[in-house]
């Protein structure tokens, strides 16, 4: 398969990473090489094989729906770039 410059730009947009024209060009070259490597994998016939997401094939552990953590908002917000009255500040989303 061949990647296009538009693919790179589209994916960067989806990943919320600003990308310059030069960076997009450079990534196109690098990523095309990596996808050539990845292509080897696509050629294998895997019909009927169950995907493996975890080596122990475990099931999700469930617990009672009760409060287990204490309120540490002040502590956790102490590392935030910008807060006000206990809220995280971001640029206005709705005019």
């Amino acid at each position: 398969m061949t990647l296009s410059l538009n693919d790179i730009k589209r994916v960067a947009k989806l990943a919320r990473i600003e990308i310059s024209e030069t960076d997009a060009q450079q990534n196109l070259v690098r990523l095309s090489g990596i996808f050539d490597l990845i292509e080897q994998m696509r050629a294998v016939d895997t019909q009927g094989i169950k995907p493996m997401s975890h080596s122990q094939d475990m099931v999700q552990r469930l617990r009672e729906d009760i409060v287990t953590e204490s309120d540490q908002r002040t502590l956790f917000q102490s590392v935030a770039p910008q807060i006000e009255d206990g809220y995280y500040l971001v640029p206005k989303v709705i005019e």
Partner: protein, 486 residues
Amino acid sequence: MLNASLRQLSLLLSEKKISSTELTSEFLSRIKALNPDLNAFITIDEEKSLDQANVADKMIAAGRSTPLTGIPIAQKDIFCARGWLTTCGSKMLSNFVSPYDATVVERFDQAGMVNLGKTNMDEFAMGSSNETSYYGPVKNPWDRLAVPGGSSGGSACAVAARLAPAATGSDTGGSIRQPAALCGISGIKPTYGLVSRYGMIAFASSLDQGGPMAKSAEDLALLLNTMVGFDERDSTSLQRAEENYTQDLEKPVNGLRIGLPKEFFAEGMSSDVSNVIEAALAEYRKLGATFVEVSLPNSKLAVPVYYVLAPAEASSNLSRFDGVRYGYRTAQYSSLEDLYTKTRAEGFGEEVKRRILIGTYVLSHGYYDAYYLQAQKLRRLIAEDFRKAFEQCDLIMGPTTPTVAFNIGEKCDDPIQMYLSDIYTSTASLAGLPGMSIPAGFGSKNRPVGLHIIGNYFREAQMLNVAHRYQQVTNWHELTPPETSN
């Protein structure tokens, strides 16, 4: 003192021949002297370390010590430690002072170990050379022109240069074993699910696993006894009966069946590495082990499968870094979207961005089945290969890496060559199997070579036993880099 085993240090401490404060001070002054050149640590905080040493000394005085109380340990900067700068090697977290402890850190704290500092690493653990760190490359203490490997390169360097008696690492595709091999130390990645991932900054969650790095298998066993354990806070943590990893260390290994995958002993492995591995196997023959050829036919697919699964999971995990709740935020922005995209463009390095782009692509609409699902199916085939191999043998051996450490800068422009240095380690990672690397000699340019031991699930005690017996008849693990032995 610098070359003492953890057991020896433990004895000196409990017999009060040395205090934890003295021991910690000695390592801190060594770090001060050698770290400016080696760059193994991102953060050191003497006051914090010495406070902990003081607490440890009180524990010992009160007779409440564990075998690890008072011994310093360096923490890979992927583990959150309360009150410590925790950067994960990234500009994105260059201002992040963690408000909480990772379970691994908490467990070592409770055992009375002293946090000696946070070690350098590839950014978000994405790299095999420690060159992607925002904090600059780490040097290999055996040859300062060479990389230490990665991503746990700082931890491997710190132990090899005797800046720390032990360190933590994390391994997604080889990040404990590859740097352990290239720096001539011992390191083990346990079975996936044994060590809690809570507070260990996520890269690829279905593969990430913490583990110890130290001079010998015996040291690793002691560390694992504290590091392993069920954790409610990690959804993939395994609930198992407690195990004593030191109990089998002295068992004889005669009759042990060692599997040699023919695919690992084929083209790709350089001749200097091959010679060292052959010599290591000859030692095992002398110890009474037998050899059987096994086959892992799908292992050639491990690297491509890994480079679909790991970036896919990384692209999801790293979406949390948005400049809103913690970490770096761009200075100038006009909208929320602008804040996100600029923060992420400036906060992430090139390799991290590259992997996020790959991951986003393979998970995007119309491509999921062709890439992610296909990779997960192949992952099962790779795990099946191992299952069949373990019907014929007790454990598997081979080289940890195809070559000795390469030079700093040598592979920076060629990501694929870099990725291929994880070829042997990523195969075991995909299967979720435990793997370890122990020093086995020296290859070209007198750079270390590691012997890779892959065990069946939960066979860590057996692997440590097999490694320990080898270390009783060889002294590779006791050798120190010439320039740092002052």
